[in-house]
Symmetry: C2
Subunit: 234 residues, 2 copies
Amino acid sequence: MSEQDTYPQGPRTTPTRLRERAGYAVDAVHAVLDEGLICHVGVVVDGEPVVLPTIHARVGRTLYLHTSTGSRLTRLAADGGVPVCVTVTLLDGLVLARSQFHHSMNYRSVVVRGRAELVTDPAEKSAALTAVVDHVVPGRADGSRPGDAKELAATAVLRIALEEASLKQRSGPPSDDDEDLALPYWAGVIPVALGFGPPRPATDLADGVVLPGHVAGYTRGTADFGSASPPRVE
Amino acid sequence: MSEQDTYPQGPRTTPTRLRERAGYAVDAVHAVLDEGLICHVGVVVDGEPVVLPTIHARVGRTLYLHTSTGSRLTRLAADGGVPVCVTVTLLDGLVLARSQFHHSMNYRSVVVRGRAELVTDPAEKSAALTAVVDHVVPGRADGSRPGDAKELAATAVLRIALEEASLKQRSGPPSDDDEDLALPYWAGVIPVALGFGPPRPATDLADGVVLPGHVAGYTRGTADFGSASPPRVE
């Protein structure tokens, strides 16, 4: 791989433990950012941390956050930019070991650290909002009405240059100690993934509007349940 | 409701926007903390925010975080406590409106602000780890080997008193503007919930170990897909 294919590994993106679970490959980092429906954004307010769920979208080496004009995060970003940490976590399985100590989860989690700045260019803002809509449901931007000037003004978009990012992950079966293998406890993995139910149309759709392909065929993620049967969901 | 049934509403737990989506009822806050498999913990390190996924468990009015002895968060907590923000977000649906502006998500998200302290009492630590195991898979603590002294020493547990917490949520159909109702775009909700696949046993289980009820019957969450058919999952 060329030098361009990994994010730089620095002290801020090297985990303090289980470093073997960390990765910096750009494709792998981007795959997690793209699969995650939401992120959790951390920002320092009055010296203390605040973490809020937010919808994001990646465009090349830029991460956009959809916020609102009145939020604290937006106000801080508008005032010259603000340090943020954006974390996207995908759960892949519950790892049940014989020992409680080796219980774990299979997951992929990307941590992005950088500076969030307010997007002020109308063209960039409009393109970012299109990307956010298509991030959640690919094809949706073409299947909905774009924002008008008033709506764009009521929405805020933040930009973070993707320069410092890392992926941490775990996969596979539980790793019990040898001396525990004979214990009479079941061990294994319960696979986890997001499930999507049958779409519920609004009750006031215009005459003749049918379920579009981007909704009817909606899926997401790379979970492999190893079985033809879909997962149980309550 | 008595005074004890809600968390206090203060400036730090009042959203800057969409305040009608916020709530402070203790039962509702606890339900989200209990349903969420993981949380995202924010802490300030060298003046900048860091957000990491973590497994938690609630015991009464205390939230415990399962961390490791070497993590930055643990070291900060051990040194007299550290301000944290713990956020648990559950996705319930993708909300597709005719207008891109009214696209949204149905969700429940709890934000806890407080001080994380290292648990040093062995009995409290042991009980907290049991709670963490049972938080992820109820009944699992009885179906696995408890930690020994060495394992407990290699694990860190942080305690946060639940004193400042709020719930923000959205539910229901998209809310398009009246003038958009006649547009030829589909609108509605794609329900979302975690799905769980068939358990995958470790290949080296001891003879005679069978799938226990706490694994075979594992479900989670309150999602209602409004249909007998389970969600599609890739």
